[in-house]
Amino acid sequence: MSRQTALYALHREAGAKMVDFAGWDMPLHYGSQIEEHMRVREAAGMFDVSHMAVLDLAGPGARDFLRRLLANDVARLQPGQALYSCMLNERGGVIDDLIVYWLGEGRYRMVVNAATRDKDLAWIGEQARGFDLDVTAREGDALIAVQGPLARDRVHGILAPADARAAAVLKPFHAMAREGLFVARTGYTGEDGYEILLPDDDAPDFWRALYNAGVAPAGLGARDTLRLEAGMALYGTDMDEEVLPLEAGLGWTVAWQGPEGEARDFIGRSALAARRGDPALRRQVGLVLEGRGVPRGGQAVCAAGETVGEITSGSFSPFLRQGIALARVRGEPFSHCTVTIRGRPVPARVVRPPFVRHGKRLV
């Protein structure tokens, strides 16, 4: 039996096509994935992402622990700021990618993937031995992402005036925590907006108020094509425990040094350091199809007559109206290649993701 979020009844009422996702019954779309996608690029859409796991870490040892646990460095954070990071195993492979928020002295909040929740909790519990902190997996909250150029305005319109004023001055990648309300200016679409955590009991009214303010519900289908256009990696698809962050376009998230320029000692560092600069490392590239067709995960990428890698994520881009993909490749750099789609080579151009940001084509 799949788990249901606090918004399940509203999704059914809205005619959503529901699918199982990591043990949760989630909306795939509400009629048209492409329309939902475009609403987010052009106006505002909202996603129920309550299946994601929210972990609170509190205690005097929390900061030191996270500096050891994560490949990015929480010492870089200002109060209220968010950080995207990979959590690596000793081999440098990616156990999960996540966002961590610094709430205040000795208090952090992490949002991790639903599919990896149990694995993450086991790993974190194991690594936390010897550090003075408590790790709590929060239950009973809904997480709603409101994204798009009009998203913040729409949210401000339904928050209590004091909360709206506080949210309006949040900088990108910053969050505010209130009793029963957590608002972060983060997202997974390449558009401005918020991710909002609130108690399950408050979630349906909040969702309805957003709907009445003109925010369109959008499903996991649109969430996937939006994040792909934004060049954002999807765990389990673009990287996993056998892939180094350096091979997944995530080298920028590895903090080799602390704020004083000192070498950091995070889990997976020595394995990563041993491979850093290795010409045999695979690397991530973005591809824009020049012919007709839609690239899909697992399809071969060929350059100069040889297979050099494969697509990790591919789709039709609703915004660009053509096929786009993230691929992992090896060998000499190349600017053009082909993708083998159902036995046929389709020409593609190599680009540097993101493909789309803030409603603008970048490739």
């Binding site: 096509k17 795939l28 779309h29 048209s32 994935q33 492409i34 289908g221 094509t225 007709r292 067709g293 839609v294 899909r296 789709s315 039709f316 609703p318 159902r342």
Partner: protein, 132 residues
């Protein structure tokens, strides 16, 4: 519940066949099929003049989600294809039994009616698939 017009014949691979009473039939995919596939982004049409065989691939419909083969429900020769789908693949979603048709086929002389179903049988099949 998807729409299943009573005047058409259906293949178990979710294509429909409309008898045009001039020795030709029109073929498309059902409302149920387009619903499963989601927003169409490309349709690869057969060539006019091509021979098609019942149960064999004749076209590809590709949605945001996945590419899917279309199987010809009949034996014959393609006499027309729906050129509008090249620029407007979404017609398959919007009007699967009308403007979203895929091809028109002149039936081979020795064509058998084949394993096509009436609307009631097709509806029962869809229902049993959905119950799984």
């Amino acid at each position: 519940m998807s729409e299943i017009p009573s005047g058409l014949k259906y293949a178990k691979t979710h294509e429909w066949v409309e008898e045009l009473h001039d020795g030709t039939v029109r073929v498309g995919i059902t409302d149920h099929a387009q619903e499963l596939l989601g927003d169409m982004v490309f349709v690869e049409l057969p060539e006019v003049g091509a021979a098609v065989h019942a149960g064999q691939e004749c076209a590809v419909v590709e949605s945001v989600k996945a590419a899917s083969d279309v199987y010809s429900p009949v034996d014959g020769e393609v006499v027309a294809v729906n050129e509008r789908l090249a620029d407007s693949p979404e017609l398959v979603n919007q009007d699967p039994y009308g403007d979203g048709w895929i091809m028109q086929v002149r039936l081979a002389d020795d064509a058998e009616p084949g394993e096509l179903m009436g609307a009631d049988d097709y509806a029962a099949m869809v229902e049993s698939e959905e119950a799984e």
